[in-house]
C-alpha cells in the first residue's frame, strides 16, 4: 500500500522521495495517519507541470518523526475538509492562492484578500443567523486596545453568541510570496518580523531548514543558546498573557505585576542579543551572540527573582475564588473538537491533547531537554491559564539547568558558510521543521528546485490553526466573555496574514 515518507524534525529528503499519490491513496494514507493520532501541520500547493501539487506534513504521535506526502490535482478535487476538519483553512488558502477548487468545502471564503480579483479586505459573505431577536455585532478591524487588526462578526441572541466568524487579512504584507522567488538577504529579518512576539521561534525554524538543506551541523552550544532564548520568549509571553487575563477580569495587582515582569524577561533577551524580541540572535548555522560565563551568571541573577515575582503575582490569581470561578467553564473547547480542528500549543494542551514538539519531536541536540509536558483537561479559560503558569515553571527550571551546562563548553557559535547567492540549499530537496513556540508548533517547509533555489517556502504559524478554536470557544457563551476568551488564546493576526 502507498505510504507517506517519514522524516525527522528538521530533516530533509530528495524532493522525488516524497511520494506523489493518487487522490484515493492520499486520502487513505491521511486517514490512517490521523486515526493513529498524527496531527496535520501543513498543507499547501506548489505549481507543478500545469497542475497543482499539494503537499502535506504531519507530526506523528508515538514516534519522534514527521510524515510527508503529496498528490497532484487539476482545476478541482474533492475537498478533504469534510473528513479532516483541520484542513478547512488550508483548503481555503489553496483556493485563494491557486484558484483550485476543493469541491464540497462549505466555506470557501477569502483568507488574506490577496488574490488579484479578491474583494476588498473584510468584504465577506458572513454567516448569518436569522430570526426576530437575533442581532449582529461587528468588531474591528481596529480594536480598542493596542493590538493588531482583524474583524470579528458575532451572531447573537441577546447576550448569547450563536456564532463568531473571524475575518483576517488586514496584516497581509506579502511575506510568503517573496520567499518563493528567492531567499534574499532580507529572508531572516522577515522571519523575525513575521510574528514579532515569536521572532526566535520563526528564526529558528527557518535556520533549521537552511541548515538541513546544507548539511550544516549546529554545535550543541549554539543550539542550547537558541533553546534558552526560546524559553525566554515563552516566559515573556506567558507572563504577559497571565497579566492581561488578570486585567480583563479586573484583578489589577496581578495585571500590573505581570506587565512589569514581562518586560524583565524581554530585557533578559536583550541582555543576550541587544534586542528585546531576540532579533539578530538566531542565524542559519548557529547564533550571533554568546552566553559567556559572566553573562550566564548575570542572567541567572535576573531570572531567579523575576521567576519568584511571577509566581507571587500569579499565585494571587489562584488564591482568589472570584478570579478562578471567572475562568472556569468559560470558553470550553472539548478534546475531540481540539483534535478534529487540529489546534496547537497551549490551546491544544489545555483541552487534553499531548502535543509539544519540544518533548515529542526535539530538534537535533536537544533530545535531553528534560522538559515535562503540561496538559489540562477542562479546555476552558482556566485550563489555558493554568498551562501557562505550569509552563513558566518548566521554562525557568530548563533555563537554569541549561545555563549551568553552558560553562566550560568551548564550541563555535556559527557553523557552515553562507553559500552562493540565490542558492538556498541542496537542489531538489524537501525539508520540514517544527519549533514549539509559545503559541504552539510553528511549521516551516522548504522545497528547492534543480538549481537549489527556493521553489516554495511555506510557513504555518500556530495561529493559523487556532483562530477557529477561539470561534468555537465562544459558541453558546456570553459575548461579554469574549475579551477573556480572546486573551486566553492570544493569537497572532500577522502570523496568519503573512
Amino acid at each position: 500500500m502507498a505510504q507517506f515518507i517519514t522524516l525527522t524534525n528538521g530533516g530533509s529528503c530528495p524532493a522525488e522521495a516524497v511520494p506523489v499519490l493518487r487522490y484515493d491513496d492520499f486520502a487513505a494514507c491521511l486517514k490512517d495517519e490521523v486515526h493513529a493520532g498524527a496531527g496535520i501541520c501543513s498543507f499547501f500547493g506548489v505549481p507543478h507541470a500545469r497542475q497543482l501539487r499539494l503537499y502535506i506534513v504531519l507530526v506523528k504521535k508515538d514516534e519522534a518523526t514527521l510524515a510527508a506526502g503529496a498528490m497532484d490535482v487539476g482545476q478541482s478535487y474533492a475537498a478533504l475538509t469534510p473528513e479532516f476538519p483541520a484542513l478547512h483553512l488550508f483548503e481555503r488558502e489553496i483556493y485563494e492562492q491557486f484558484s483550485v477548487l476543493p469541491q464540497g468545502h462549505s466555506r470557501l471564503k477569502p483568507v488574506r484578500f490577496d488574490g488579484t480579483d479578491s474583494p476588498q479586505v473584510g468584504d465577506m459573505d458572513f454567516f448569518k443567523a436569522e430570526g426576530n431577536d437575533v442581532h449582529e455585532v461587528a468588531v474591528g478591524p481596529i480594536h480598542a486596545g493596542v493590538i493588531e487588526c482583524g474583524h470579528f462578526r458575532f451572531q447573537c441572541l441577546g447576550e448569547i453568541v450563536l456564532h463568531l466568524e473571524i475575518s483576517l487579512g488586514y496584516h497581509h504584507r506579502g511575506l510568503e510570496a517573496c520567499f518563493n522567488q528567492n531567499p534574499q538577504k532580507n529572508a531572516l529579518p522577515l522571519m523575525e518580523t513575521l510574528a514579532g512576539d515569536s521572532s526566535i521561534a520563526h528564526a529558528w525554524a527557518f535556520s533549521t531548514l537552511r541548515e538541513s538543506l546544507n548539511h550544516t551541523a549546529v554545535t550543541r552550544r549554539a543550539q542550547t543558546i537558541r533553546a534558552i532564548a526560546l524559553e525566554l520568549e515563552r516566559l515573556a509571553n506567558h507572563t504577559g498573557d497571565l497579566g492581561a487575563l488578570a486585567g480583563d477580569m479586573g484583578y489589577l495587582p496581578t495585571a500590573s505585576f505581570c506587565g512589569r515582569l514581562r518586560g524583565d524577561f524581554l530585557n533578559m533577551t536583550a541582555m543576550l542579543c541587544g534586542n528585546r524580541f531576540g532579533r539578530g540572535l538566531v542565524a542559519p548555522g548557529g547564533v550571533n551572540f554568546d552566553l559567556e560565563e559572566a553573562l550566564c551568571l548575570h542572567l541567572e541573577k535576573k531570572l531567579r527573582p523575576a521567576a519568584r515575582d511571577v509566581y507571587g503575582a500569579v499565585d494571587l490569581l489562584w488564591e482568589t475564588p472570584s478570579v478562578t470561578s471567572r475562568m472556569m467553564e468559560i470558553g470550553v473547547v472539548p478534546e475531540q473538537a481540539a483534535r478534529d480542528l487540529g489546534l496547537a500549543g497551549p490551546a491544544a494542551r489545555a483541552s487534553g491533547l499531548r502535543r509539544d514538539v519540544r518533548i515529542t519531536h526535539p530538534l537535533p541536540g536537544l533530545q535531553e531537554s528534560q522538559l515535562t509536558m503540561q496538559v489540562e483537561k477542562s479546555g476552558d479559560v482556566y485550563a489555558r491559564a493554568r498551562i501557562r503558569l505550569d509552563e513558566i515553571h518548566e521554562s525557568v527550571s530548563f533555563i537554569l539547568r541549561e545555563l549551568g551546562g553552558l560553562h566550560g563548553q568551548a564550541e563555535p557559535l556559527r557553523a557552515g558558510s553562507a553559500g552562493a547567492p540565490g542558492v538556498y540549499g541542496r537542489p531538489s530537496t524537501f525539508g520540514a521543521a517544527l519549533v514549539e513556540g509559545w503559541r504552539g508548533e510553528i511549521c516551516h517547509t522548504a522545497l528547492t528546485d534543480a538549481a537549489g533555489r527556493l521553489q516554495r517556502y511555506k510557513i504555518v504559524d500556530p495561529s493559523f490553526r487556532n483562530w477557529i478554536g477561539l470561534a468555537l470557544a465562544m459558541r453558546g457563551g456570553q459575548i461579554s466573555d469574549f475579551p477573556l476568551c480572546n486573551k486566553s488564546f492570544n493569537l497572532s493576526y500577522c502570523g496568519v496574514d503573512l
Binding site: 488574506r112 484578500f113 490577496d114 479586505v121 478591524p141 481596529i142 480598542a144 486596545g145 493596542v146 493590538i147 493588531e148 487588526c149 487579512g169 488586514y170 496584516h171 497581509h172 504584507r173 506579502g174 511575506l175 510570496a177 517573496c178 534574499q184 538577504k185 532580507n186 531572516l188 529579518p189 522577515l190 518580523t193 513575521l194 510574528a195 514579532g196 512576539d197 521572532s199 504577559g240 495587582p253 500590573s256 505585576f257 506587565g259 512589569r260 514581562r262 518586560g263 530585557n267 536583550a270 541582555m271 542579543c273 541587544g274 534586542n275 528585546r276 524580541f277 532579533r279 539578530g280 515575582d309 507571587g312 503575582a313 499565585d315 494571587l316 488564591e319 497572532s492 500577522c494 496574514d497
Partner: protein
Amino acid sequence: MLHGLIERLRQKKRTAAYPGKPPVLPERFRGLPLIAEAACQTGSCGKACASACPTGAIQTHDNGLSLDLGLCIFCAACASACPHAAISFSREYRLAGTSREHLVIRAGRCGQAEDNPGDIPLLVPLDRKLRSMFSRSLKLREISAAGCNACEADCNALGNILFDVQRFGIDFVASPRHADALLITGPLPKNMRLAVQKCHAAAPNPKIIIAAGTCAISGGLFRNLSGQGKGVPELFKPDLYIPGCPPHPFTILDGLLRLLGRI
C-alpha cells in the same frame, strides 16, 4: 486580600527614575549607528555595507556613506560586513525626530550639519499653541497598521509600572474621537489603508501623527513586497518619526516627551 498586600509590598515600587536619571540599557543594545568617517573607504571595499543591508538603508556616495534610520532595522549586518569596522552601534536610544531628512546619518551627523547641530536626529517640539493643548495631557490612539506586534508590544509596555506613561499625562484611548494623536505602527499595506483613513477622519483636529517603528516610517522590510506597505507617509505626513525595530520603550517615551517640550 492580605496576601495581595504582602505581595504588593514585596514587589516594591518599580517605576523608572527616568527622566530624572537616564535609562540603563543592556550592553548589547543597538542604538544610534556611528559611522567612522576616517575608517570608511567607500569605493575600495565594494560597498559591502550597502549590499549587506536588508532594507536598502545605506547609500554610498563619493565621500562616504549615508544611513537612513527611517529604513534601518538595527540588525548590524552592515557593521559585520564592513572590512574596516567603520560602522558600529552606540547605546544612544534617543532616535526620534520631527523631520524625515534628519533621520539620515551622513558624515557623522543626522541630517545636514547646518540645521541640526546635535548628534541625534533633530526634534523640534510642538509650537506654543499645540503645547498649551497637549503638553500635560496627550491621548494616543494606537493603530497597528499591520505591525508584527513588536512595536505594539513595546507601546503597550509604556503603560506598565516601569515606564508608567500616565504619570506624564500620556495615555492610550480606545476611540479616535478621544484622541489627540494617532500613533501608527506597521507598514500600512493596502489592506489596512481604508481602516486607517477612517480612523484618521474620526479623530478631531488638531491631531498629531506619529510614525513609530521603521515599518511605519518607510515600510522597512516590507516596502517592496506585494502587500504594498510603504509606511505612514504614503497617507499622511507624520509629525514625529520614531525609528527602531521595534523602538525601545524609552525611545518612544523620549520622543513623546521631547515633542511635548516636557524634557
